[in-house]
C-alpha cells in the first residue's frame, strides 16, 4: 500500500523555513523592488533632477496617507471585500479635525482621537451592514463613500478649513531627519499590519475567510467578527490618514482625496493582493504605494502632462491586474 505512492513524495516532507519576522524573507519582495529600481533608473536617465535625495524625501513625506489607507484596503481585500469609502472617510476625518480645532477651539490631542473614532465607527458600520446583512461590501461602501463625503461637506460648509501651524509638525520633516513623523507612523502601521496578517490568529483567519469563507464557517469558526474588525481597522486608518493629510496641508479640505480608494486598490493590487481575496501582503502594498508615487513624480519631472500621467498609471495598474489574474487562475480557474 505504501509503495504505490512512494515515488511521488514522502509521507510528510520537511517544512520549508518559515519567516520568523515579517520582513525576513526578503526574496518575496525582489520583484517589486526590481520594478521600483528600474523605474528610478529610467527616470534618472530621463531627468537629471530625479535621482536626488530631495526627490525621495519629498515622495516619502507625501505618501503616508495613501500608505495608511492602502494598508486598510489590503486587509479588506484579503478577506474578499472591498472598501470604496476610504477617500471620503479620510476627508471626513480631516474635516472633523478642522472643525473641532478651529470652530470649537479644541486642542489637537482631543480632536484627533475623536476624528479617528468617527471614521472607525463608519468603518464598523461598513462591516456590520455588509457582513451582518450579507450585502456585498462594494455596495455598502459605495453608499458610505457618498455619506461620508456629504458629511464632510456639511461639517465644513463646503469650505477649506485653515487650521494653521499647530498641526504642521506631524507632516513636516523632523529636526535631524529629512523624514516626517507621519512617514514614520505609516511605516509603523505597515509593519504592525504585516505582523497581524502574517503572524497572528486574526491574520490567519483573514486569509482563510478570503480563501473560502464557507470552509471557515464549517470549521466551527464564526467569520463575521473577524471580517467586521477588518472594516473597523480600515475606517480607523482612514481617520489617521485624514489627520496626516490635514497636517501636511495645514488645513482640512472636504474635497480632498477624491478617488483615493482607486489609488489604494491599485497599490494593493500592484503589490500582489488578490481582488478575489485570500492573498495579500502589506509590505508589498507599501512597495506598490512607492511604485505609484515614483511613477507620478517621475512622470511629472519628465514633463508629462496630467492626462498622459493618468494614462500611463492606468496602464501600469491594468498590467498589474493581468499578472494578478494569471497568478490566481492557477488555483481558481481549473474546473
Amino acid at each position: 500500500m505504501r509503495g504505490e505512492h512512494e515515488t511521488e513524495s514522502s509521507i510528510v516532507g520537511p517544512g520549508r523555513a518559515i519567516a520568523r519576522w515579517p520582513i525576513a524573507n526578503v526574496y518575496r519582495y525582489f520583484g517589486l523592488l526590481a520594478v521600483l529600481g528600474l523605474m528610478c533608473l529610467l527616470f534618472g536617465l530621463a531627468s537629471d533632477r530625479f535621482l536626488t535625495p530631495r526627490t525621495f524625501t519629498s515622495i516619502a513625506n507625501q505618501i503616508p496617507e495613501l500608505t495608511l489607507v492602502a494598508v486598510g484596503m489590503t486587509l479588506v481585500l484579503v478577506i474578499g471585500g472591498i472598501d470604496l469609502s476610504v477617500g471620503s472617510l479620510l476627508a471626513l476625518g480631516s474635516a472633523i479635525l478642522g472643525v473641532l480645532m478651529v470652530d470649537q477651539g479644541w486642542p489637537f490631542w482631543i480632536a484627533a482621537p475623536i476624528a479617528i473614532s468617527v471614521c472607525g465607527a463608519a468603518g464598523l458600520v461598513n462591516g456590520m451592514v455588509s457582513i451582518g446583512a450579507g450585502i456585498p461590501s462594494f455596495i455598502v461602501t459605495l453608499g458610505m463613500l457618498e455619506i461620508a463625503r456629504g458629511l464632510a461637506l456639511l461639517l465644513t460648509g463646503s469650505r477649506i478649513v485653515y487650521i494653521g501651524s499647530s498641526i504642521e509638525s506631524l507632516g513636516a520633516p523632523l529636526g535631524g531627519l529629512p523624514l516626517s513623523p507621519a512617514f514614520l507612523i505609516s511605516i509603523g502601521v505597515v509593519l504592525a499590519a504585516q505582523f497581524v496578517l502574517a503572524q497572528t490568529v486574526m491574520g490567519r483567519y483573514c486569509v482563510a475567510i478570503g480563501t473560502n469563507r464557507e470552509a471557515v464557517r464549517m470549521a466551527g469558526i464564526d467569520p463575521r467578527p473577524t471580517a467586521i474588525k477588518v472594516f473597523l481597522i480600515s475606517g480607523l486608518l482612514c481617520g489617521l490618514g485624514g489627520i496626516v493629510q490635514a497636517s501636511r496641508l495645514s488645513s482640512a479640505d472636504p474635497n480632498a482625496a477624491v478617488g483615493l480608494e482607486l489609488s489604494a486598490i491599485a497599490a494593493a493590487v500592484i503589490g500582489g493582493t488578490s481582488l478575489m481575496g485570500g492573498r495579500g501582503n502589506v509590505i508589498s502594498t507599501w512597495l506598490g504605494v512607492w511604485i505609484i508615487a515614483v511613477l507620478q513624480t517621475g512622470l511629472a519631472q519628465c514633463g508629462f502632462s496630467d492626462p498622459s500621467k493618468r494614462l500611463i498609471t492606468g496602464l501600469v495598474i491594468v498590467a498589474a491586474v493581468l499578472i494578478d489574474a494569471w497568478r490566481s487562475r492557477r488555483w481558481n480557474g481549473s474546473p
Binding site: M1, R2, E4, H5, E8, S9, S10, I11, V12, G13, P14, G15, R16, I18, R20, F195, Q199, T200, V201, M202, R204, Y205, V207, A208, T211, N212, E214, A215, V216, R217, M218, A219, G220, I221, D222, G278, R279, W331, N332
Partner: protein
Amino acid sequence: MSHAEVSGPPMRAGESILRVSGMTKRYASVVLDDVSVDFRSGEIHALLGANGAGKSTLCKIIAGLTPASAGEMFLGDSRHVPTDKADAEGWGIEIVQQELNVIPTLTVAENLYLRRLPRRGIGIDRKRLHQQARVALARVGLDGLDPATPAGGLGVGECQLIEIAAALDRNARVLILDEPTAALAAVEAARLIGHLRRLRDAGLAIIYISHRLEEVLAMADQISVLRDGKLVATRPIGSLVEQDLIRMMTGVQGAALGGEHRCHRQETTLLRVRGLTRSPRVCDISFDLAAGERLGIAGLVGSGRTELLRAIFGADAADSGELSIGQEATPTLFTHPRQAVRNGVAMITEDRKSDGLLLSRPVRENVSLIDLSRFVGRLGRIRTGEEGTAVRMRAAGLELRCRSIEQPVGELSGGNQQKVAIAKWLGHFADYCRSRSDMPDASPRIFLFDEPTRGIDVAARQKIYELFESLAASGAGLLIVSSDLDELMQTCDAIGVISMGRWVTRFERDAWDRESIMKACFHHHRRDTAAG
C-alpha cells in the same frame, strides 16, 4: 448483448435508433465500464442502478454533455460523436436534467424558443412566437397554458413539461429524462407518465432514469441495470417484479476492503436526536448514537442525508427538534457550526473543495485552522515551529503524502485532500478531551462524515476505514453518510436508512442484508407512487 443491426427511416416503432457500444468513462476512477445498450424508437427504456452506478454519466455522454473515454455510439447508420449539447440536439437527442433550465423571469414562450426567437425587424415577433408556443405546448398536454405567462409562477411539473415541449419542438428522436418524477407529487408524476406513454406511442425513443421502481415497472418497455459502472443486464420488462430489479441493482459483492469488523460500541449514548426537522429535506428524524458506535446513514441521492448532518452540525438551522450531547441533560439545537464544535462535534463535509478546504493555502494552515489558538505565543504571534510539529505529527498519523506541509492543498490528490480535511479535526478533539477531563463519563466526541471516501483511491480509503476503527475504539461516535452501501456494511455497527427525508428503520450488523436495506431506501418512494 446482441446488437440489432437494423437501420432505416427513424421514428418507426421497435427499430434500433441509438446504439451505444463499449462506452467507458474514466475520471479519477472508472465510472462507466464497457457498457453497450441498444435504444429503440417507440420504447421507454429505463436505466436503473444504485447511486454512482453510472446512469447519469451514460446519459450525459449520449447527450454530449461530457465526452466518453472509450467506446462509440451509432445514431441509425451514422456514428454519433456529439461535440456538445447543442450538437447532440442537432442530431435529435435531447436531455431533460434534474436541474431544470427554465428561466423564471421569462415567459413560457420565451423559454421554449430562447435560442431561436422569431424576429421581426429588430424586435421579437410575439404573435408568431405565441402561435408556435401554443402548438408546442399542446404536444405535451399543456393546451390551456397561456404562452405569455411568466415561467416563474409554474410548478416543477409544468417546467419539466415545458422543457420536454421544447425538446419535441426541436424534432427530438431520443428523449433522455434524468429522474423526472423525483421532485413531483404523485398526481403530477402520473400525468407526466401519461404524456410519456403517448410520446412513446408516437415513435419517440425515451431513456428514463428513475429510482421509483414501481413507476418503472408500470411504464417501461426495456430496462437496463447498471452496477459500479458495468451493465448488469438489459431485459424486456415482461414478467419482472420489483425483487428482480433490486437483486440486479445490488448483486453479490466480492470480498471487500479492510479487515474483520470489531464492535466498540459502549452503553452510553453520545448523541440523542429527537424530531429533527428542516423542511423540506429533513422530516422528524429521531435516533441515538452510542459512544464507540459507527452508525451508517443510507439513502438515495436527495433523500436528505447531507441535510440531516448539516442540521445536526448547525450549518443549516433546523426548524424544530432536539439534540442532546453526551450526558448533558439540556437538549439543544445548534444554530452555528461554532456551537457544534464547542460541544465536541466535527463534520467532514461531502464537498471538500467548496466547504472543507482552503485549496490555495498550505497543508499547515488547513490542518491547524481549528485549534490555532493553542499555538499562540507572545504578542499573539503564532509559534509556527510548534504548529508545524503538531501538523506534521497529525499528517503522519494519517499517512498524508505531500512534498512538505507548506504545499498548497489544491496540489494534492483527492485522497490526501480528504486526509487534510480530517486531520484538522483531530487536534481539536485532543484539546476538547483535556478540557473535559473533569467529566465523569466519556467526553462527547462526535464525527459526522459525509461521503468520506468519495473520489479517493483504494489506499486512502483503507486508511480512512482504519481511522474510523481507531476513533470508535477511543470512544468517539461516528455518523457516516455514504452512497456506497458496501462501504457502510463493511465499516458500520448499524445502518440507519432514510428515504425522502424521513427515518425508515435501523439495521443492526448481525441482522442486515443488502436487499432489505435497498428496499428500505425506496420505502417512501413506493408509498408516494402508490398514493397517486
